[in-house]
Symmetry: C2
Subunit: 418 residues, 2 copies
């Protein structure tokens, strides 16, 4: 197939649909979201049947148990996909929000107003519910979307898309507003990333390999969702009881996610008072510790951390631990080895907290809170499209507002420039 021609045709139709969406009001889009939710519920049997086709091939694609679990669409998950669309419908319309507005001295009215971006391409892996979540957020923000899921979930994704399109049509909106790529040809990803003038933004969600491939092919803007190598730094003036609670939570509460702690930094001033007790608790919780030399001296028999450990996202019950001599050394370590996702300090010192939050170059910087808080829902954004590790346009948890751009709307009364 000619991937470029295929994408050009699909994106052209999506672009036309985006033009129609840009003129809708929020009520129309919220009604369509509810119609999509109903269509998903109604299509439950078809969705499960399509999902069984994917599940039957999971071994062929070498999926792990955890991946198969994420791929599975049971009745409960289908219901929660619908529920998420209804929840998105209840949010405030991001389109039309005024960012700033003011009059110039000459009476010219200037307004910076949120408008849809246009056509958004989302490239993702594994979990089929991303199809409906992403489509829902794009519809909420009056964008058309082109979704390219993984080959392991293609039957599920196409069945979900068919239901969503039925929902759109029943609400009088163009079905082309939600397009799922119906081929697993890898050239399509490259063609999407190069579809200048047709797709306005690409959001890749998945492993580092996928994101890297998209970035390398891209001639249009990409917002990346890379790994979280998150740190907790226990400062010399920390409340050590609080530090222990935060460290245990950040590592153990859900280690498989991007906002879990991967490296603990402990100030030398409190290392002997803090580390032995914490490490005993961590080992009790089944955490494997990989420590620097000084950690080894304080804690005893732990594996020695290598240079590689400082840059590894374990996503598992493994923790690297380093004793640092100062706040500055902690900041230096985080900015050098971290992934600029989420990093925390535990301290009672205002001065230390201010230096840490100013100097740590990360999307989320926490003071006396667990890194696990970094999440769109927990930040109060409603649904999230992901967590951006980029600095441009959107950084950290991304909600529906981040799927908009803005226009300058300038209103005069015959104003000309002298």
């Amino acid at each position: 197939m000619d991937a470029s021609l295929y994408v050009t045709q699909l994106a052209g139709a999506a672009r036309k649909a985006a033009g129609e969406l840009a003129l809708t009001n929020g009520k129309v889009r919220d009604d369509a979201l509810r119609a999509c939710a109903a269509a998903i519920r109604k299509a439950g049997d078809e969705l499960q049947e399509a999902n069984r086709k994917d599940l039957a091939r999971s071994e062929q694609f070498g999926l792990t148990g955890a991946m198969v679990k994420r791929l599975t669409l049971d009745a409960q998950r289908i219901d929660s996909m619908s529920g998420a669309l209804e929840e998105i419908a209840r949010q405030v319309d991001p389109v039309g929000k005024t960012i700033v507005a003011y009059n110039r001295p000459n009476g010219l009215r200037i307004e910076k107003r949120r408008v849809p971006i246009g056509v958004i391409g989302i490239i993702f892996e594994s979990r089929p519910n991303v199809t409906s979540d992403a489509a829902g957020l794009c519809l909420k923000s009056a964008n058309a979307c082109i979704l390219r899921g993984g080959k392991e979930a293609i039957h599920s994704n196409l069945a979900i898309a068919a239901a969503l399109r039925k929902g759109l049509a029943s609400a009088g909106l163009p079905p082309q507003a939600v397009t799922v790529i119906d081929t697993t040809d890898r050239e399509v990803v490259t063609a999407m990333a190069g579809a200048q003038g047709l797709i306005d933004l690409i959001i890749p969600r998945g492993g580092a390999g996928l994101i890297k491939a998209v970035c390398e092919a891209a001639t249009i803007p990409v917002i990346k969702h890379y790994d979280g190598i998150c740190h907790v730094y226990v400062h010399a003036e920390a409340d050590l009881k609080m530090a222990e609670t935060i460290a245990m939570n950040a590592k153990c509460q859900y280690p498989a996610v991007c906002n879990a702690m991967e490296t603990l930094l402990v100030d030398a001033a409190i290392a002997d008072a803090f580390l032995p007790g914490l490490c005993a608790k961590l080992l009790d919780a089944g955490v494997e510790i990989r420590g620097c030399e000084r950690t080894g001296q304080l804690v005893g028999d732990v594996k020695v951390a290598t240079e590689e450990d400082w840059t590894t996202e374990y996503l598992d019950l493994v923790l690297s631990v380093k004793v640092v001599d100062s706040l500055e050394a902690a900041i230096g370590h985080i900015n050098t080895y971290g992934s600029h996702h989420t990093d925390a300090i535990v301290t009672g010192s205002i001065g230390a907290a201010e230096i840490f939050t100013a100097a740590v170059d990360s999307a989320s910087v926490m003071v006396n809170a667990s890194t696990r808080w970094a999440d769109g829902q927990r930040y109060g954004l409603g649904a999230e499209i992901g967590i951006s590790t980029d600095k441009l346009h959107a950084r950290g948890p991304m909600g529906a507002d981040d799927l908009t751009t803005y226009k300058w709307i300038v209103t005069g009364d015959g104003h000309v420039v002298e």
Copy 2:
């Protein structure tokens, strides 16, 4: 030379300087801006001498009269470069501004706060004052910058950079915060555009060829400043006197700039009442008119517009004119042939204005005002880094705020996720 190694070394030093800038307060940066202004004034003779070296080669590079004029640094222009830096120093600090802040129900404090982006690469042509303006805006927003000017201005640019670095040093800030590329090797542009992890953003300013080359080489985010093919649409319910004033201003007041009108769209309902009078005035003002068939019928002897005219940025006293049958036809023409920069409607109808502002996919949409207003100064942003034709991160006139990103600063009291 090894362009990649060269850029890696410069950008590494700039990155270190950016880390220091991120910890400065606004007073320190404003003092440094004033020290830079003083250093530019003091170096006046050196700047003019360096500029003479560039001017002596202008013929060799085939510069036009207008380009030579833009390249020339006389005493007045040097003074106004200094003045611009002092003006930037007087603006409100963009760093540390709170975008939103709120408490979550559990008491967790969430703040989205403006912080510097880091290292910004600016690639530009011709006017050497861009060197000090861009460096000033980057310093204001606590970013380090790497500036790559055109070969035709390299002596001037390096002399300006030397003065700026003296100013930075005298204010106790790292001179590496402002770096001017001291070679005209074109490979350096490619190396800058690929300097992932070292440069956070590239802003190309100049001709379409330059911007295209940068985008094609880029693996880091680019904010483009493309052409303005700006339209004025005179709606059926326009005040025709106002429409005439706006059209004359948008075309004739300064035709060489990106926010000048290039195409006039006239609603068929008022074309015969409006076009003959306006065109007589335009011809009087020395404007060459290239019209559609219906324009020719109404106005008489005008050149026939070709398909190419609708997509041409003349930057000159030339205007393409088209009679359209409806508001929708005007919107369709603008979205198809325009450059999404700035487009205006003249109308007395609220309904028409609302449809136009919603449907026209441009950075600035004007109602009853000349397209010439699209400008950072006129929008009240203070100095501007340019006018973005992109939709992501910044759109339209870009000020110092747009040279920042944000951080989520989350403050708890031992908050953990259950």
